[in-house]
């Protein structure tokens, strides 16, 4: 017997993402899905952001990792609320995982919620978490071809944080070419060139977050 189904495979995730989206809107929180390769500096960026915005914005971070609670511990030490999700091998967060994390960290108590996705440029781009915006992080130590090899995430992102700018002299990363490629993929992208070590670009990044939170 042949059964015609026609059911969207991501339906369950998308339904849950819709629930999350309503929750974020009602809570007046800006939810940002933070996506990058492993080792780009997402957690360090979260630490610095939490430190700089302490007393100005209430920041929460849902941290997705395959294993360990190390990142959540680091972020809490920096002064933000944090909940760790261990995906135990799954390469991306799902809307349901985020919803369960929100039971531990009520969004109405926050101004900005970062959802630090599992380090991976491919799979997280396919799973809607209900966020208002995706932000991609790209470190200068990765080489400049990440945007052209993984264009989907840079096309869907609202902003890109280029991290580890202080290491530019030690790499062959061509910033101008990278910026040109990013513009070609998505000319609406807001781009921040940053260094967590020297502080470059972090004021601009934090001001932008404040303006997003103020707009909510």
């Amino acid at each position: 017997m042949k059964i015609i189904v026609g059911r969207d495979l991501l339906l369950a995730n998308n339904d849950q993402a819709g629930v999350n989206r309503v929750l974020f809107k009602q809570s007046k929180v800006v939810a940002i899905n933070l996506i990058s390769s492993p080792g780009s500096g997402k957690t360090t960026l979260m630490e610095k952001t939490a430190g700089m915005l302490a007393g100005r914005l209430k920041i929460g971070v849902v941290v997705g990792d395959l294993y360990t609670e190390r990142d959540a511990v680091r972020i809490e030490k920096a002064g933000a609320a944090a909940v760790q999700i261990n995906t135990e091998g799954l390469c991306h967060l799902t809307a349901d995982m985020v919803y369960r994390a929100l039971q531990e960290m009520p969004p109405e108590e926050l101004d900005v919620l970062f959802i630090e996705n599992v380090g991976n440029l491919v799979c997280p781009a396919a799973f809607d978490l209900g966020e208002q915006m995706k932000v991609a992080v790209l470190s200068v130590t990765e080489g400049i071809d990440k945007p052209s090899k993984y264009p989907t995430i840079f096309r869907e992102a609202g902003a890109v944080v280029i991290s580890k700018e202080d290491l530019l002299p030690y790499t062959d990363f061509d910033l101008d070419t990278c910026l040109a490629e990013l513009k070609e993929i998505n000319d609406q992208l807001k781009i921040f060139i940053t260094s967590a070590k020297t502080g470059l670009g972090l004021n601009e990044w934090c001001s932008w977050l404040e303006s997003l939170a103020g707009a909510e």
């Binding site: 017997m1 042949k2 059964i3 015609i4 189904v5 026609g6 059911r7 969207d8 495979l9 991501l10 339906l11 369950a12 995730n13 799954l90 390469c91 991306h92 799902t94 491919v122 799979c123 396919a126 799973f127 945007p147 052209s148 264009p151 989907t152 096309r155 490629e181 070609e184 993929i185 000319d187």
Partner: protein, 113 residues
């Protein structure tokens, strides 16, 4: 390997439907996967073989229909397959496009006894 999540969702969908339709064994499942998801047929096949163990889909054949990404320009109406990086309309250079193919991700049908 988001193919694992997709196949997990696929098996849940088919298993649910099989119960409703009184089907004890599924022989074939056909899915439609748009190019934009970057799902690899080999990885989908591998995930299907691993995850269907002890389910109604165990031993079934997975057929994959991969649809190409086709965009339609919002300004001039041209339909085209974009360059990987540059999605702008090759005819008029406009940036506003909608995908008319390549974003599908669903179970088309399955066959069973």
């Amino acid at each position: 390997m988001h193919e694992l999540s997709l196949i997990q969702a696929l098996i849940e969908t088919v298993a649910h439907s099989a119960v409703e339709n009184d089907i004890a064994k599924v022989n074939t499942v056909k899915i439609v996967v748009g190019e934009v998801y970057g799902a690899l047929p080999d990885a989908l096949d591998f995930a299907f073989r691993v995850l269907t163990k002890d389910t109604v889909c165990e031993g079934a054949v997975l057929e994959i229909d991969k649809t190409p990404l086709v965009l339609k320009c919002g300004a001039c109406g041209s339909e085209y397959q974009p360059d990987e990086i540059n999605w702008k309309c090759p005819a008029c250079g406009a940036g506003g496009v909608t995908a008319i193919s390549g974003k599908e991700l669903y179970v088309d049908y399955y066959e069973g006894d």
